[in-house]
Each structure stands twice: as C-alpha cells, then as structure tokens.
C-alpha cells in the first residue's frame, strides 16, 4: 500500500507544483468551449438540436481529462529522460504497484482538471439537469481518466525517445478527440464515421458523462459504464505488463 500511496502522492505534488502547465491545460478546453459553443450555438439551435453549450460542455470536460490523463501517462518518458525511472525500477516493489500508483495519481489529477473545467463551463453558461447527477458524473470522469492515463503509460513505457512525442499527439490524441462525439451528435453520420466513432473509446466516455450531466444518452448508461470500465481494466493490465518489461 505504501508504494502505491507514495507514487500517487508524487504525481499530485508534481501536478500541483507545475502551475504553468495547469493553467495552460485549462486554456485550450475553454477556448474550444467559448469559440465553438457560442460560434456554432445558433446554427445548432436552428437545426433543432437544442442548446449547443449544454451539448458541448461534457465533450469539453472529457477533452480536458483526455489531454491531462494522456500527458500524465506519458510522463514516464520524462522520468526515463531525467533518470528518475531507474530509482523506481530498482526498488523492491512490484512493477504493478508502481504502475497502479502512477496511474491512480495521474487519473486523480486529470479528474481534478475535469472538475475545474466543469466549474468554469458552468460559470460561462453550461447547465446541469440535477446536482445529484454530479456523483455518477464524477465516476465517469475518473474512469475516463484511468483509461487514458493507463494508455499513456503503456505507450510511454515502449517509447525510448522524445521524437515520438508529437506523433502521439497528432496521430492519437487528436483523432480520439475529434472523432468521438465530443463536438457533434453521433446520429446521421456517414457510415465510415459511425463505425469509427463506435470503435473510439472516448465516444463512450463522452456519452456517459453527457448522459449523467444532461440526461441525453446515445448508447445508454449501462453500455457506457461497461465499455469504459472493462477497457480501463484491460488497458491497465496491458500497461502494467509493458511497464514491467521496461529496461533502462
């Protein structure tokens, strides 16, 4: 337990101490929320789909969690680069515990980031149907954070160098975000896009959060919860296997 806790605590401390990163990662989702929300809002309304801010809010919260979680996972590369990874790899603690502590820590910071965005979008104009729904919403936010922190860690454990870093962002995070239903409704899409959005795990994260916060589901709460939690466990298992094979 001690090892998991101290890994978790480390992630939190690092996050708390890098204020510029924290602020920087708030700016982008907010820009998306304001620009798209108010820019496309009237068209959305005219098309008869209702309030776009309400639709977009959960998508933007999920976006901030996706980015923070992936970057928290990818921090393994930094640890390798700056040598700290060796310190954790020679410790007499199972690699699974190290990985779990790291992932929980990264997921906690990503969830916190999501909560901050939730509050900010609320100030700007996003409304929630019922305050009690915040509890299941938090569960979805945390599961999303776990899934993508574990994914980031798994990828970073395999990467030897920083060169691949922009590739991950451009070829993984961006498509996951844009092809997820965070920005647009998933019905009446061309069939290729429908298939892609159904394969994309983030679609279920967004749908689950949107459903709990605003009451509108595409897949349904049961499906969302099942997909996101099963995937989290699978990715965590793969991640700890890959991490356990890490050599320095």
């Amino acid at each position: 337990m001690g090892a998991i806790y101290i890994m978790w605590l480390r992630q939190l401390k690092r996050y708390w101490r890098s204020k510029p990163r924290m602020l920087g990662s708030l700016a982008q989702p907010l820009l998306f929320f304001v620009a798209l929300g108010f820019g496309l809002g009237p068209i959305f309304q005219k098309a008869g789909s209702g309030n776009y801010l309400e639709f977009l809010g959960p998508g933007i919260i999920t976006m901030s969690i996706l980015f923070t979680a992936m970057f928290a996972g990818i921090e393994v590369i930094w640890d390798r680069q700056f040598g700290f990874l060796k310190e954790t790899l020679v410790a007499p603690v199972s690699r699974f515990k190290i990985m779990l502590g790291r992932t929980l820590g990264g997921a906690t910071t990503a969830t916190l980031q999501g909560v901050v965005i939730l509050i900010l979008t609320f100030i700007i104009g996003f409304r929630i149907s019922n305050p009690w729904n915040l509890i299941p919403a938090l569960i979805f936010m945390f599961l999303t954070a776990m899934l993508f922190t574990a994914l980031g860690t798994a990828i970073a454990s395999k990467l030897e160098d920083m060169q691949a870093f922009p590739l991950i962002i451009n070829f993984l995070i961006m498509p996951i975000f844009f092809l997820s239903g965070a920005l647009f409704p998933l019905d009446n899409l061309p069939s290729i896009l429908t298939t892609i959005t159904r394969i994309n795990p983030l679609s279920y994260c967004v749908d689950g959060l949107r459903g709990t916060l605003t009451g509108v589901y595409n897949f349904g709460m049961g499906v969302d919860l099942l997909v996101v939690s099963v995937l989290s466990i699978i990715v965590l298992a793969i991640g700890s296997y890959v991490f356990s094979k890490t050599e320095v």
């Binding site: 790899l89 410790a91 030897e160 060169q163 050599e247």
Partner: protein, 272 residues
Amino acid sequence: MVNEKKSTKKIIEVENLVKNFEEIKAVKNISFSVQAGEIFAFLGPNGAGKTTTIKMLTTLLHPTSGKLLINGFDPVHQQSDARASFGIIFQDPSLDDELTALENLEFHGVLYKVPKKIRRERINQLLKFVELWDRRNDLVKHFSGGMKRRLEIARGLLHHPKILFLDEPTIGLDPQTRNHLWNYIKSLNEKEGMTVFLTTHYMEEAAKIADRIAIIDHGKIIKQGTVSDLKKATKTNSLEEAFLKLTGHSIREETAGAKEGFRAHARAWGRR
C-alpha cells in the same frame, strides 16, 4: 561482524556473463565474485562495460546469457529479493527535480519499506551528513550538481543495503566531499559489514579504498586482484601506471547512441 571480511561467503557471483545490444557486444563472457564485506572496484576506460554490468546486477537489464547471483538471489527471476538486497548510486542523475530533498528521501524510504520512525531518524542524520539539512525543503531542481550527487548518496544509504553499488559516485564532487564520502562508506563497510561494489575513474581513490580490483576493457576482465597484485603483475609502481599498461593509452569514445540524441532533443524541448 568484525570478522566478516575473512568469511568466504560470496555475496555477488557472476559466471560467463554476456550482454549484446543488437550488433554491439558490451559484455563478453566475464566471471568474478565478491566476498561479503569486501570493497570491490571495477576499473575500466569509457565504454568498457562497467555500467552495463552494474545494470545487469541491479535488475535493470537482462543478461543475454550467463549466471548472476546477488545475495543468493537471481536478479532475473527473483527480482524483488534481489532488489531488496542492494542500494545503488547511479552514474547519471536519478532524482525527481520537482520534489524537495526531503521528499526524495521520504519517497525512497517508503518504497524500501523502512519503518516510519527509523526512516525519519535516518533521513535527518543523512541530510546532516551530506550537509543538505538547511536545504531539505528546497526543490531539487534548484540544487547544484554536487548537491544532487550528495543527496543521491544519502538516498542510496537510507535503507542500509547489504550491498552498495556505486557507479562513478564522486564525479563532480570537490576533494573535501570525496574524502568525506569515502570515509563514511569505509566506516559503513567496517561497522555494518556492507559490501561495496564501485566503479571510478580516480585511480588513487580505488587504490585507497578497494580490497580487490578488476580491470575491465572492451567487455572483458583483463586482470583482477589486490592493488599490489596488479602492480606486481605489471611491474609498475602505481595503480594508474598498471591501469594504463593494461588498457593502453588510446582515448576511448563512449558509444553515444539513441540516448544522447534523445537528451539533446529533450533539452531543445525544454522541460514542460
């Protein structure tokens, strides 16, 4: 404890150890052993295979072939037991810059399951020993190279390991700190019977502290024995002369592979 040096228990055993990185043969079939309570030095030019050997002994790399035993445990298959047996001070930095000196030590103590009370006591004592007590709540990123080195040394000693690996521990330290460090390590070795496995480029340090020395070059052990054995065998008057006679005068280039490029890139990127 006093007689530990005379015991014949082998605490590190290496037989026919080989490590290949794709086409590079880093370690070519080396064998040696270290007795419990001994101070053993690995000397060799850059790129000789010293660090690779230490990485294999400390479970960070898997050997291509050969037999390894650390405190009776196989670092490949009994990783946790092997890891609990040693402490290591790495050649490159391995601190978390975003944590304070105290937090780095606390983190280490928890990972190595040092009970809280003992942990606090030792941390205080070690911070005073390496003269970082006044800076204990400062982030490590504000430390100079020498201070970081001292903190790493304190950390490596925190869990009182049976075997201490020191991979060029005194690089970047002034003579005062070096002297201080070797005296402390010597006293731990004498008082607690801690086995020490070290590599260094400072021949006079090795000559002063090591009970036995192995000279390694191009991935092979060329000679091993006490300092006087080595001097006798090469008919020289100092360890440095013996070393140069055995390894030649040409200057070696360390293979700067992916890692160096990676480092340059990271610098260009800046840290977050």
